[in-house]
Symmetry: C2
Subunit: 224 residues, 2 copies
DNA sequence: AGGTTTTTATTCGAAATGGTACAAAAATCA
DNA sequence: TGATTTTTGTACCATTTCGAATAAAAACCT
């Protein structure tokens, strides 16, 4: 019987989480799966799914195509892995920014700055948010990606909702304020930063936009 | 000497602007260049530059590949044409929305609604803004596209600047308001709508976001 | 050392892709 | 009608692309 040969199960962490230095059996890998995914992610990030050929990915990771396939499965699977990993990283830093306390103004600025420095990373200029720059393109074609991206945005929105809800309860917003509406505006603004970063705006411009947004939401900073 | 055979000059309007029914010489075209570009635009819009194959474009326009090439030049040229045409159309409706008068609140709502209905058009669900959804991907690779997209965003920003500047002068904003900062926030919010539309949010959700934004900028609507 | 296991490197192949050559088709002009 | 002009349709070509088959390489185990 002819096997249909589905994309192999990617098995990223050979075991555990920390350095699994437990003597692996065969020939040792010539690459670090973690950095390889990171490099593949960068390639997709810059060039998009369709724009990134397997040769591009191969060059970026230093792995040849059979190794790529063996390690991560086909291109679609690799993209999903890249997306998941991006989300994990992004979630981690965002949660930190949300939770670090301080005034609403401080928290907002922290969150925007965290997003921005991610969006401006990379050596081809601003890349924006992976979800937006690469994810939304592939979402049209891959339902898994579509769902993951939607979840990611929703998660972000929830973060802002909680932030504004707490701020409201702590009296940081005038009584009667529609804090849910404020949270929505604050949340989508992150996506706007992604677009503008990708469009080549400078950090200065983007930070001015952040300041303007924060001032609009929290009221302009009063000096002394 | 071997000719390098550059992409042919696309000659869209055979002459004039209105129906150029001036008896063309050879076999008549089997397509309308204007709707063909529109269909090609839709394909790029949904699938991006790299994701749209010439076969896709051929199917969408009903033209076979040689006709496509003869009429518009190579794929890159066709994309630039699609981008230019999108900008022209978009500019036209946006200028209308900006100029139609009324209060700042009304003008803002009109502009956002105009953008939104464009972003939600199409049969694959929300497509967002062509500049953002397709343009920014190709901008990495094609400097002409990069410049055009940057110009488009800048033009949008200018529209908001003028709107807010006028509103300020007419006393629609509290004295001392940093109307330039407000204009920047209002402008990038259009891009946020594009992202969220593409991510599959419903018209209701997006309109709620618009309302929240307008209320934040103009102050909540006072009933009677 | 010999066997086992896993990864790497070379190579291949089928399909898709962007682009083109060329003749047939469909109109006008003389 | 026949010549001319322009567009269309078929077929073709070179390259790229994704994926896989296969054997060599590099480690461990006994």
């Amino acid at each position: 019987m002819v096997q249909k040969s589905n994309p192999p199960e990617p098995r990223l962490p050979p075991e555990g989480e920390a350095p699994p230095e437990a003597k692996r059996r065969g020939r040792p890998r010539g690459y670090d799966p973690d950095v390889a995914v990171r490099q593949a992610t960068a390639t997709f990030w810059d060039q998009g799914y369709a724009g990134a050929s397997l040769d591009d990915l191969s060059a970026a990771t230093g792995m040849n195509r059979p190794s790529l396939y063996g390690a991560f499965g086909d291109k679609q699977t690799l993209f999903r892995i890249a997306l998941d990993r991006y989300m994990d990283e992004s979630r981690a830093t965002m949660i930190q920014a949300f939770r670090a306390g301080g005034t609403l103004r401080e928290a907002l600025a922290r969150v925007y700055q965290a997003a921005l420095s991610r969006y401006l990373s990379g050596d081809v200029g601003g890349r924006g948010c992976f979800l937006v720059s690469a994810g939304l393109g592939q979402a049209v074609v891959d339902p898994v990606v579509r769902q993951t991206v939607a979840d990611g945005l929703h998660e972000l929105d929830r973060g802002f909702e909680r932030l504004f809800s707490r701020a409201y309860e702590h009296g940081e917003l005038p009584p009667g304020t529609d804090h849910a509406a404020l949270a929505r505006v604050a949340g989508v603004m992150v996506n706007a930063l992604s677009v503008r970063a990708r469009a080549g705006e400078t950090r200065q411009q983007l930070e001015a936009t952040i300041t303007a947004t924060v001032d609009l939401i929290c009221g302009p900073r009063v000096s002394e």
